[in-house]
């Protein structure tokens, strides 16, 4: 028996014994995702138990090195673990920005001390992180950020304001882009700094969106003290780390479009029925749905193709540059069609009869997809310049 087969047998047995039955139930919404933190929000008490059991083996982040609390598993072993979890419908034990965003950045750019201090609490779900990037006057021009970090000897004094900080009101620490130098080009002088959200001078205010309440906050820093040992990378060289993480974020957002339920064609048939030729009775709508489905099929095929090319060692081709742009535009189209198919019920905002405005709020929320994480316009600029080689 190969080592991998042995690993599979042991993993299967361990999961069978340790995964609580409640954690094998399907995730019904965001509230069923466990994000950890000092004051974790839970919808079921077994969430924390399940996270703790997995964290003990480092399996909340199985591919991170063991010395930082991770599982230290090889790629094939990670796949086996995922397969065995899927087999019993085990939920993800922990979902956090620490795992998806800060961790990869620290592993690549952090020093040994920073990794040892910050990675294990992420693995154990003890510290929840948020990301302090966007600022009110910067928008797409992220690098023009103005939050200042002044030298205070062994620490920085941080002053300024961030916006679109997801879960800032619930996070324990923040990884934050600050300006430590004003003299060079705007991309220089940016530093990547970590500090505790419980520090004096930090305050947050949730942002209400056109679609309703949201995880986003405004975050204010008023003479916040941040230890210099929590500066990641060199002072003034934070932009490199920021760009690395932006790529991660874009890939996450471009996945939005993939979420599907019933097909739009089926939904429309329920509402409008067919004409004598068997086609959807609303011919104009039919054309728009067919266009959407065609593009959606071609886009999903493109994501598969790029994946297959990468696996075949061709690297991440130029086609990946279109994912964020095209995926979010498709998602907007799908939501717009949902509204057109839905009619009156889709215009509902509150009340049980309208499912508290699910269709409508999803639609409104989708309008932001092509703004957050790099606007469609910025994505098109990137394609034009980096892929097509068109000049400034």
């Amino acid at each position: 028996m190969s080592d991998l087969q042995q690993f599979r047998i042991e993993t299967r047995a361990w999961l069978e014994e340790n995964c609580p039955p409640a954690m094998r139930e399907p995730v019904r919404g965001f509230e069923d995702l466990y994000n950890g933190g000092r004051k974790p929000e839970i919808s079921h008490p077994d969430q924390k138990l399940w996270c703790d059991r997995m964290a003990e083996r480092g399996w909340t982040v199985p591919h991170w090195p063991r010395e930082y609390g991770g599982g230290g598993l090889a790629r094939e072993e990670v796949k086996v673990l995922q397969q065995e979890m899927a087999r019993i419908n085990a939920r993800l034990p922990l979902d956090s920005f620490g795992i998806s965003m800060l961790g990869p950045a620290l592993l690549k750019f952090g020093n040994e001390e920073q990794k040892r201090e910050h990675l294990p609490p992420i693995v154990r779900g003890e510290i929840r992180w948020c990301q302090g990037y966007s600022e009110p006057n910067a928008g797409s021009d992220l690098a023009s950020l103005q939050t200042r970090a002044e030298d205070g000897g062994d620490h920085y004094i941080v002053n300024g304001q961030k916006i679109w900080t997801s879960y800032a009101d619930k996070a324990d620490w923040i990884f934050c882009l600050v300006r430590t130098d004003n003299t060079g080009s705007k991309h220089e002088g940016i530093s990547f700094l970590l500090f505790d959200m419980a520090s004096p001078g930090v305050s947050t205010r949730p942002i209400r969106l056109i679609s309703g309440s949201s995880p986003f906050c405004e975050t204010f820093f008023d003479n916040v003290r941040a230890d210099k040992r929590n500066l990641v990378g060199e002072e003034g060289r934070g932009w490199t780390i920021a760009k690395y993480l932006l790529t991660h974020e874009r890939e996450m957002i471009s996945g939005f479009g993939a979420a599907t339920g019933k097909s739009l064609g089926e939904l429309a048939l329920q509402t409008f029925g067919t004409d004598p030729s068997g086609r959807l009775a609303n011919g104009i709508l039919r054309h728009s749905i067919a266009q959407y489905q065609l593009d959606s099929l071609a886009f999903e095929t493109t994501m598969s193709r790029v994946g297959d090319e990468a696996k075949a060692g061709h690297g991440l081709g130029a086609a990946s540059s279109i994912f964020k742009y095209y995926g979010t535009e498709l998602n907007k189209r799908r939501n717009e069609l949902n509204m057109a198919i839905g009619g009156e019920p889709a215009l509902g905002w509150e009340g049980e009869v309208y499912d508290d405005g699910r269709i409508c709020r999803d639609w409104l929320r989708s309008r932001g997809n092509s703004i957050e994480g790099g606007t469609t316009e910025v994505q098109l600029n990137i394609i034009a310049k980096r892929v097509l080689g068109l000049p400034d």
Binding site: D141, I284, G343, E344, E372
Partner: protein
């Protein structure tokens, strides 16, 4: 008629713009929403509007109106669109009064139109039943009962229903859903026994309700037009209504566009005013062209009402379809070009997006009217 505004019309437009911006603008809509006001508009503001005579703009002079025609009402509705004004100008003036005027008997008109023109009473049309506008598929039954009728069924998307004193109700006295024959119209007091209202909350925060009719008994005096033959009058009424909604959408889309252009002229990114980026410039210029086309077709359709143009049905669907398309594009572009700030509830631009979709949907959306435009064009 020349496709220009007269001096009188320009004065009316300016006066509407002034009052609505001050008394019934986005700020008032937001306040009504945030306080959870069920009525959806301010009675006090409505009285001030009524004093200016606007509720009677399109009502014939013999029934106490100003008799300015729909071209006049269209101008007011355009300003309503610009300001997202929460008033019964759509529900009772554009829709309700037109229904009474087109479908009512002489005595019903004499009884009701003067009170509507004075803004003292409100009437709303109860038509839609399912998810989409499909008037010939009306299923609500009107069973003959002596000289009168008994109504049973449900209606949705009844505008400003909680404030209405009367409803014009479309019901089926004969035939099957899908037939245009067999439809009848009734003038029903809001306080009728067996009629219950359920307030609904839509994305545009305007007052709207669903109505349930359980054995609502009506006398012969409630019957409008000839029983079973309401279709032609209803159809004509809906043409007028859709052109009025197109006027509102024109104002709404134009305002969203102008706010966006102003934002483009101010907002800086990458060290430049973002309005200097050619990618945005070209999109703004294209949208400008579409708005000019939209303005022309709305004006033409409004005049066609007053001119009794036989091409009215086709022009009505043209105006509504075009304005659905342009308003959708203008509001979507407004959010995208405003960026993150446009996504926040704190900023006003989202209100335009929200109202646009409800107005687009009401009485037939883009898909419905483009199809009808083609059918009336013979293909």
């Amino acid at each position: 008629m020349a496709l220009v505004l007269t001096e009188e019309q320009l004065m009316l437009r300016d006066s509407a713009a002034g009052l609505l911006a001050e008394k019934a603008g986005v700020a008032q809509l937001r306040a009504l929403r945030d306080t959870g006001d069920e009525l959806g508009f301010s009675r006090q503001v409505w009285r001030e509007i009524a004093e200016l005579g606007w509720p009677g703009i399109a009502i014939p002079e013999e029934y106490g109106g100003l008799g300015y025609g729909y071209a006049g009402l269209g101008l007011v509705l355009e300003q309503v669109g610009r300001n997202l004004s929460p008033t019964p100008l759509q529900a009772s003036v554009l829709v309700g009064a037109t229904a009474v005027n087109e479908l009512g008997s002489e005595s019903q008109k004499q009884m009701l139109l003067p009170a509507l023109a004075a803004g003292e009473q409100l009437v709303s049309l109860a038509l839609q039943e399912g998810a989409h506008h499909a008037p010939e598929h009306t299923a609500m039954t009107a069973r003959a009962d002596g000289e009168g009728f008994v109504l049973n069924g449900t209606k949705c998307l009844v505008l400003d229903a909680l404030a209405a004193d009367w409803f014009v109700v479309i019901a089926r006295s004969a035939g099957e859903p899908g037939d245009t024959a067999g439809l009848s119209a009734f003038l029903v007091p809001a306080a009728s026994t067996g009629l219950t209202l359920e307030a609904r909350s839509l994305v545009d925060s305007r007052g709207v309700a669903a109505l349930r009719f359980s054995d609502v008994r009506l006398g012969a005096d409630a019957v409008m037009a000839t029983p079973g033959q309401a279709w032609d009058g209803l159809s004509h009424c809906l043409d007028i209504v859709n052109i009025g909604l197109a006027s509102e959408l024109l104002g709404l889309a134009t305002e969203a566009f102008e706010r966006t252009v102003a934002f483009l002229q101010e907002r800086k990114q990458f060290g430049r005013v973002i309005g200097s980026f050619q990618g945005l410039q070209h999109r703004a210029a294209e949208l400008f062209a579409e708005l000019e086309l939209a303005r022309s077709i709305v004006l033409r359709a409004l005049q066609a009402i007053d001119d009794r143009d036989p091409d009215l049905p086709r022009l009505a669907s043209a105006a509504k379809a075009k304005l659905c398309e342009v308003a959708q594009r203008a509001t979507n572009e407004a959010i995208q070009m405003h960026g993150g700030v446009g996504m926040t509830d704190e900023f006003d631009i989202g209100f335009f997006l929200k109202r646009a979709r409800v107005a687009q949907h009401s009485f037939g959306d883009y898909n419905y009217h483009l199809d009808r435009f083609a059918r009336l064009g013979g293909f």
